[in-house]
């Protein structure tokens, strides 16, 4: 790594704008600063929720009640899920790297509506605070699980109202961000950047943004209906009042399945940027990747029923949803082939971002294949609501989206902070994380197949070994997380200065200073080439 001197330009980190000190962050409309606001909030919440996960694993290390009782466990997995899903992975990559890099990668100075962008963060924070409050006020921590299924969520004496409201508010932040990105991509691309000259991370954000705008209102209204049922006794879901509990599951998953793509599409976008850079080769099948993002977004709207196979929906609905679930695997597989082919024959540089990106493929594929097992009607009956499901979605969400986040942060860190982290330490942290992850979650597949139910705080003796191994994995994983974060946090201030383009990337963000200036570009670039043109070694 070049030990160049401190940069001479005034970066966005120094440019405080109209306000000074902390206010220059809290009131900034600079997309890069807002991206960092999201990132820091998300990291704090992630640590809290990860500790909650660790506590659950400690509880399950041995049979019987060890450190908490059943009701506490119910509360812990509920808030763990709510934080991880609604506060971390749904905004996640789009809010952090989307905010920071979307404008830069399409050659713009900011998003289309910078003030709206800041407002989205505030709405997000208010929602997050509501979620935290739900733990401490009223009838005790909510115990419904993050899915809020009726009839229980309409009856539970715990403080479900706060949690519902929190998720409702967080939804607005998501909608506004999506809206902002759609307009930004339509209106603010640099001259010459036609749709098919746009890098693929922006493409994935575009597909994501449409889901955010179109699906999120449905969950908002659904949660309002539960609130109305709880407070006003209007019968939407309660059969005694003339409602239908399955209607809730339909509405919930009409949002929440597409929401899975809100999480994973930007993750795919991030690794799609990483593979060409570290193979020094243009992305294989550019158009296929761009279009498959849209295809995933579109087909992903029509598979929600695969969460309801055992709930008593009609035979033909099950048939339909199972079929489409298999269809949606096709565009995902197309991407996997494209990533692998991008690396094939390239000059591969195995740096931390690429390590994370490759492990993303590995973990995502385990998650995807087990998803097909869950999507088949017959096997689903056996696997539904077992720890197999817990393993599956952790492989997808944590192994996929989480590892893509780690890949992204290691990739763009030198651009964001103008400094480099310790590569060796990052490699070690990656190894610990990867091992810990698999030791933690893989046993859950096995005991799930053997019948270990999900969301139980205790278990029968035959599941002891599996749970024990899994808990050991949790500790390893946690150690890896701490090491990774330590390396990054420390290097923000103390790392050696990085050059503007340490990885020899070719997309626009690597053509400007590190860290970028307030306006990103002195003059808006003219785009003449497709996005992934690498020079051959000696030309």
């Amino acid at each position: 790594m070049d030990q160049t001197n401190k940069y001479t330009h005034t970066s966005y980190l120094e440019n405080e704008g109209r306000f000074k000190g902390i206010l220059s962050w809290l009131l900034s409309t600079d997309h890069k600063r807002i991206g960092l606001l999201y990132m820091n909030t998300i990291i704090v919440f992630f640590l809290v929720a990860a500790v909650l996960g660790l506590l659950m694993r400690i509880e399950k290390m041995a049979p019987g009640a060890d450190i908490m009782d059943a009701q506490t466990y119910n509360g812990v997995f509920t808030i763990h899920g709510i934080i991880m899903i609604f506060i971390i992975v749904i905004p996640g990559l789009a809010a952090v790297f989307g905010n920071f890099f979307l404008p830069i990668m399409i050659g713009a100075k900011d998003v289309a509506f910078p003030k709206l962008n800041l407002l989205s963060w505030y709405i997000y924070v208010i929602g997050a605070i509501m979620g935290v409050l739900s733990q401490f006020v009223g009838g005790g921590a909510p115990d419904t699980g993050w899915t809020f299924y009726v009839p229980y969520s309409a009856e539970s004496a715990t403080n479900v109202l706060f949690a519902l409201t929190a998720a409702f508010i967080l939804g607005f932040s998501s909608i506004l961000t999506g809206l902002n990105f759609i307009v930004t991509i339509h209106r603010m691309r640099a001259p010459g950047m036609g749709w098919f000259k746009m890098p693929l991370f922006p493409w994935s954000l575009y597909a994501t943004a449409w889901i955010q705008v179109l699906a999120t209102p449905i969950i908002g209204i659904t949660l309002l209906l539960v609130i109305a049922e709880r407070t006003l006794n209007i019968g939407f879901f309660d059969p005694a009042l003339g409602g239908d509990p399955l209607l809730f599951q339909h509405l919930f998953w009409i949002y929440s399945h597409p929401a899975v793509y809100v999480m994973i599409l930007p993750a795919m976008g991030v690794v799609t940027e990483i593979f060409p850079t570290f193979s020094q080769k243009p992305v294989f099948g550019y158009t296929a990747i761009a279009i498959s993002s849209l295809a995933i977004a579109l087909v992903g709207y029509f598979v929600w029923g695969h969460h309801m196979f055992t709930s008593g929906i009609s035979y033909w609905s099950r048939w339909f949803f199972s079929f489409l679930t298999f269809i949606v695997a096709v565009p995902s597989a197309i991407k996997v082939f494209n990533w692998v082919s991008t690396m094939y024959g390239g000059s591969i540089d195995l740096k931390p971002p690429l390590l994370y990106a490759i492990s993303f493929i590995f973990l995502f594929m385990i998650g995807g294949f087990t998803g097909l097992a869950l999507g088949s009607l017959a096997t689903n009956v056996h696997l539904h609501d077992t720890s197999f499901v817990v393993a599956h979605f952790h492989y997808i969400i944590f192994g996929g989206m989480g590892f893509a986040f780690f890949a992204g942060i290691h990739y763009w860190f030198p651009k964001m902070y103008g400094r480099m982290y310790n590569i060796k330490l990052a490699n070690i942290a990656w190894g610990i994380l990867f091992v810990g992850f698999n030791v933690l979650y893989f046993p859950l597949f096995i005991i799930g197949l053997q019948g270990m139910p999900r969301r139980y705080f205790d278990y029968l003796p035959q599941f002891e070994t599996g749970h024990f191994v899994s808990s050991i994995g949790a500790f390893i994983l946690f150690a890896g997380l701490i090491l990774m974060l330590y390396n990054l946090v420390r290097s923000r201030r103390k790392g050696p200065w990085a050059t503007a383009n340490p990885w020899k990337g070719v997309t626009l963000e690597w053509q400007i200073e590190s860290p970028p200036t307030h306006e990103n570009f002195e003059t808006i670039p003219e785009i003449k080439h497709p996005p992934y043109l690498f020079k051959k070694e000696n030309d």
Binding site: L214, L247, I254, Y301, F302, S314, Y315, W316, S317
Partner: protein, 94 residues
């Protein structure tokens, strides 16, 4: 993309739209007198969709917008229609 100019609807046509919306509201109330059985949700949604489309076309000036915007809004309508239809087909077949 062509720039759609400023269009000002005359008071009379705005008034016409308002009257149409109010009568459709009356219609959706009146229609509850009849029992359409399994189709009752569909009928209510149909009236609501006509109202929504009217608001979009005239009040929100979709009529004067570029084709791409019309396509986007149309696509969104189609998507929601499909989602609702699929959900309710499940009820019919159960």
């Amino acid at each position: 993309m062509e720039k759609p100019g400023h269009h000002i609807l005359s008071y009379n046509s705005l008034l016409g739209v308002l009257v149409a919306l109010l009568s459709l509201t009356a219609l959706s109330v009146w229609i509850t007198n009849f029992n359409f059985g399994t189709l009752s949700v569909g009928v209510a949604l149909l009236v609501a969709a006509i109202k929504g489309a009217t608001v979009l076309t005239y009040f929100m000036h979709l009529k004067f917008e570029s084709r791409i915007l019309k396509l986007m809004v149309g696509g969104v309508f189609l998507l929601f229609a499909l989602v609702i239809i699929i959900t309710f087909i499940d009820y019919l077949l159960r």
